[in-house]
Symmetry: C2
Subunit: 85 residues, 2 copies
């Protein structure tokens, strides 16, 4: 029987590194026209709130997962803004 | 002083409903070429693991947030596959 903690770790890993292929795709194609800027801004704002929450409740795994996701989504946003010029 | 729980709720709300603008954009433009399919598949797989985890540890807020996020990302994936034909 797989422990619930294992499911949590796999979940956190997948929903974090999932944004890596988007970074690669956007970098390679130099296009992110179809990616919603409102999604990126809302998602990034939400991640900042997750980071504040993680620091307040001292939850290191939540902190790490959200910092990595924030960095990846920050890169996607910067690439989108750069290539849309 | 804002409680950590409030930060958590705002965080969960934002990282969940963030995908709604992407659904609207993809629906309107009928294009999701720049959205990485590997991101969607990895993210959706991760959300399924979050749902399993939430059921196992009996965490209703985690369950609700991830079910909503799963539905929205499932719609984005279906729209992407439909419009790429």
């Amino acid at each position: 029987m797989i422990s619930s903690e294992t499911f949590g770790f796999i979940a956190a890993a997948l929903t974090t590194i999932a944004f890596f292929p988007q970074v690669i795709k956007t970098w390679r194609t130099q296009k992110a026209e179809d990616v919603s800027i409102f999604m990126l801004i809302m998602f990034i704002t939400g991640l900042v709130f997750w980071i504040v929450y993680a620091i307040q409740v001292n939850a290191l795994p939540v902190l790490i997962a959200n910092v990595v996701t924030l960095v990846l989504n920050g890169i996607i946003l910067i690439l989108k803004l750069t290539f849309s010029k």
